[in-house]
Subunit: 223 residues, 2 copies
């Protein structure tokens, strides 16, 4: 399989950490870096695809959350089980993937877009927008705090795709945008963050973000 | 199973049409109507749940797109197969569920919120907001038109959860908001819409929307 994606981008990273949890090596999933700052996405070979895109034989798949679901299913019996172990587990993973996608991501991605990607283009961030969406993120995390006081991970007592899908954005928020407070001031959210960010798969992938953010123009929030 | 949901709401309807495609009857899935205009959601028995919520034994599941995935898996061998017939099919269904959720729904739901739900509360719609998001919806549908010129349904040559997930919002747009132009002026999108809206499951469910919109205060865009 080949993954076409911008190195260090949130969506490409989401796919790469899934591959790492599944124990896929570079012969099984090859990352083909797409360099947006060099206009790669306008080259003929990329015109028909969005990035990140997974190519597996004649299947070309877009949308990072669709790609991670595909990898979790295709490698169901290998590496970390990312959907738990029953239909019930899977349902709760899907519920929290939806919460990540509809309630959490819209706010954190606006904050990151202003504080990381807008600034990396040499433009001023819209501070009012940052304040509004940081506050909304804060309220969403109240729900997470209450939930994570009752269970270890989002979907139950097992690490899953739902937890994993939060890794790149929270990492960017803490380490690149340097706005960790909404995470750090909540004991259960912080414990959960420490648990999921200390997994070997994430520790292997995260440094690539730090490398790329030193050349900020290649970072992107594209889906 | 019990489904707690506002009758005629977009998200409740999404779940009910899935149940209908799976051939579930009222002994298998009982719809418990929640009446927001009567303050039902503040009553003690509803305080711990969002609506719509599916209750199946000790599992309580929120988020309509998580609930429809759960029903599609739980009743995999019954009624319409809603994920196709292979991992590849399933991946493409997930891709188009993501497109519906991230590219299509944000715009159509703002248009519907202004033209249907805001107006039903006796407030004036924000016409600038309607124009902006109707135009964005129009551009998203350019992608659908090109895609549907090459295949019958969104994920391939089979009806799936991805098509189904569009039914309530497009129905509201055409029949309640009376803004059908973005659908009707595109021949392949129109053919697709006619195909999916003429399915017996949808024809059985759709009249409930028309009944409810005559008592507009009970309609809602809640997830």
């Amino acid at each position: 399989m080949k993954l076409y994606g911008v190195p260090g981008s949130i969506c490409t990273t989401r796919v790469l950490v899934t591959a790492a949890e599944k124990g896929l090596d570079k012969t099984q999933l090859q990352h083909i870096p797409v360099d947006i700052s060099a206009g790669d996405q306008k080259k003929p070979q990329y015109l028909a695809i969005q990035v990140p895109a997974l190519q597996d034989g004649d299947l070309t798949l877009f949308e990072s959350r669709a790609v991670i679901r595909y990898l979790a299913d295709k490698y169901e019996g290998q590496g970390t089980p990312l959907y738990g172990s029953s239909n019930r587990d899977r349902a709760l993973v899907e519920q929290w993937l939806e919460v990540e996608s509809h309630n959490f991501n819209p706010h954190i991605s606006i904050v990151l877009n202003e504080l990381v990607f807008t600034m990396s283009r040499g433009e001023d961030p819209d501070t009012k927008l940052v304040t509004t969406h940081y506050e909304r993120l804060d309220r969403v995390l109240d729900v997470y705090e209450a939930h994570l006081s009752r269970q270890k991970y989002l979907a139950g007592d097992f690490f899953s795709l739902a937890d994993l899908s939060h890794l790149p954005t929270i990492f960017y928020l803490i380490r690149v945008a340097k706005k960790p407070n909404v995470i750090f001031r909540r004991p259960h959210v912080l414990t959960w963050w420490q648990l999921i960010s200390n997994r070997p798969a994430w520790k292997a992938i995260a440094p690539s973000i730090m490398t790329v953010t030193k050349q900020p123009k290649t970072a992107s929030t594209s889906a």
